[in-house]
Symmetry: C2
């Protein structure tokens, strides 16, 4: 495996990793602009823009964009997160130049035809409806809002229907002008790729993009709080979050190991205690979500109305207990799970391209895998116990509840029990 990095004169970075045994490639463009780069009145525009990229350019109609990739059996898609908008493709070896040409076209030259904007508004309103109907989607939006209230970081990616209903062509063009700058773009490719050919083509396609830095996103501040809604559902869905390190933080892997040992797999404490021993839920897990300047330790579960109180008690008690008696064996197991997951993930070209883009965004270089492994291995049981003990003291807690949640504790009760 060979990682190569180049930089165009306008600042756009290109990173590739050849996987010589593969006949296909994954490639994409990651733009460091997402939901948290929106002003309050812009909420939802980064995602709207991502949709409009597929609606037509000066060279291709929407249909021709889809056909250009699918004619050769490829796959084209995009996503918007809080810090990124990504446009990516999976194609066979010979079709890499075609895929890059299409990606450049939709990113740099969208038409923004007013009639298309109206149609796509309808699609996005339907997408918002779909999220609202899916409890374990909507509850994470609410958790984010409770954790970072009145901040870009706490708003949804899709935006509220009233904003989505109002965006104009000028709004879209303005966001592109401000945020789609070459210094904030990474082209990443993995699999059957020819680095030099990609760099030459990228220079042709993106070389004329004018540099110019946009104002950085507003720093996020974990505040905490709660949002709950009674809804007639079979399950009471509960998610909680605590402030945790961001992805540039030295302590990131301590948080990852803690999340794994607390609720990362079948052998984790929450799975064993809440599901295996008490049978109170089907799904329960802890995850560490990371951003550039903050992070969240989140715990999610779904249970029946009558079991909700007990599930919350047990969860809080497991968090408290972790600070006292987390064992070296559990920490070693979580480290091994993270390392093996990393190595197995690298077998996929799509995961590898995503990882390259993400690492360039974070570090502006690709740390050797040994460096990452060493950071994971350096996490010991003392650090994990300390992390657990300080969990609720760091920035309070956020709580989101949806369903028959009359019996749920308030966020202050939760914090009291954690501190007791």
């Amino acid at each position: 495996m060979t990682v190569r990095i180049d930089r165009l004169s306008n600042g756009l970075r290109i990173v590739t990793e050849a996987m010589p045994h593969l006949e296909s490639a994954a490639l994409g463009i990651w733009v460091e602009a997402g939901g948290r780069n929106e002003r309050p009145e812009e909420n939802g525009i980064a995602h709207f823009l991502e949709h409009m990229a597929f609606k037509g350019t000066h060279r291709r109609t929407a249909r021709e964009i889809a056909e250009a990739i699918e004619d050769v059996g490829g796959y084209l898609n995009a996503y918007t997160s809080r810090e990124m908008t990504a446009y990516y493709a999976r194609v066979l070896r010979d079709d890499v130049p075609r895929a890059l040409d299409v990606l450049a076209d939709i990113l740099l030259d969208p038409l923004f035809d007013p009639a298309d904007i109206e149609v796509e508004r309808g699609v996005i309103l339907q997408e918002i409806g779909q999220v609202q109907d899916t409890p374990d989607d909507v509850i994470f939006d609410w958790l984010q809002e409770a954790a970072y209230p009145d901040q870009p970081m706490g708003r949804t990616i899709l935006g509220p229907p009233e904003r989505v209903s109002a965006f104009t062509r000028d709004d879209l063009a303005g966001f592109v002008r401000t945020h789609y700058r070459p210094e904030r773009m990474v082209i990443a490719a993995a699999g059957a790729v020819d680095h030099d050919a990609i760099v030459r083509l990228a220079d042709d396609l993106f070389g004329a993009l004018r540099p110019g830095l946009a104002a950085p996103a507003q720093p996020a501040r974990f505040v905490g709080g709660e949002r709950r809604e009674l809804r007639r559902l079979e399950q009471a869905h509960v998610a909680m979050a605590f402030e945790a390190p961001g992805y540039r933080d030295e302590a990131m892997y301590v948080a990852q190991v803690f999340a794994g040992a607390l609720g990362g797999g079948m052998s984790s404490r929450l799975f064993q205690e809440v599901r295996e021993r008490h049978g109170l839920c089907y799904a329960i897990f802890a995850q560490h979500a990371t951003y550039s300047d903050t992070g969240m330790m989140t715990i999610y579960s779904g249970t029946s109305a009558e079991d909700l109180g007990r599930l919350c008690e047990l969860t809080v008690s497991e968090i408290r207990r972790a600070g006292d008696d987390m064992t070296e064996a559990e920490v070693a197991r979580a480290r091994r799970q993270i390392k093996a997951g990393l190595l197995m993930g690298l077998e996929s070209a799509a995961n590898r391209a995503e990882r390259l883009a993400r690492l360039m965004h974070i570090w502006d270089r690709i740390p050797p895998i040994e460096e990452t492994i060493a950071r994971i291995d350096s996490v010991d049981v003392t650090a994990v116990r300390d992390f657990a003990r300080e969990l609720s003291g760091r920035g309070g807690a956020a709580l989101a509840l949806l369903g028959p949640v009359e019996g749920a504790p308030a966020v202050d009760e939760l914090l009291e029990k954690l501190a007791a």
Copy 2:
């Protein structure tokens, strides 16, 4: 890549494929027994059994099962479908023997401790609640029920809460005795695997299993009908199904190509017409589901209450139109998408192991990839148009509706419009 197949003297089959560039392996045991092998009063027991496998054996507690795999960074899971129950693991190269030992242990020697059965009953009831809260899960259960009413093939995998509440230790042991026979088991492994070592170990672990054929599952008959439920949701969720070839049928790839061209990707007719042109939905797709003796062409979408009628009209009109004017270019594109998807899927060890098991189940051999490609390439536009024209005439239609669906057509109206 080298596929190797062996058979123990009791009939259990072992199939492996070495992927020399990988450092990890995917392996599992696929048992040809699932929901459709249940008697009516047993509905849900195959899935209950899958859960109980993880609850403890004579050698390992539930915790020790989880730790045995996760201690080495591996991943262990299982699923139950209508025709299969699968237990599988992902591990690094050196841990393949350990993983196979754990898989054999949970499959062949589960404790069925009555106290554990009670706890797991609670977990499964929670899982049923979760499905009920997820519209695009529950609607496919209803579609299956409408397509195959009063048949094992039409029942849910999880079973109804009243059955799940009643299963006993004897019920579980009885299902194992009847259905977990070596002739109906395939051990499949792909990635960093040593075939001979796996065969030797499989012989030690499974060699004593007594052969004995269970009664075959009741043949499925596509009948059609509808199930609808008004529920206060943002979206009206609609799924329809038509009878289609099973996976042993010569016409299988005609149906796959039709599904791709009708609603398989961004360039498909349903995506272009219903979403891109009219903006009526976020998600819309057609899929071909296959079983040993039947199949279903399914179409799913979600839309607002006021757009539901129009979405159904457009969908029906696209199916009708496909019989008249599907083009050679569209068929060629769908063929290429299926082929490229197949080739890219083979880059993953987990997909490859799953495919080996599935092919052994269907054909009792692994057809060379060129043979599969040739079958896909043999599908021409005439066959696809003929398939489209006969779609509703083959076995009627099934319709499932959930949400604000007052404005939805009845299944007979749908059929009339298709026939008009």
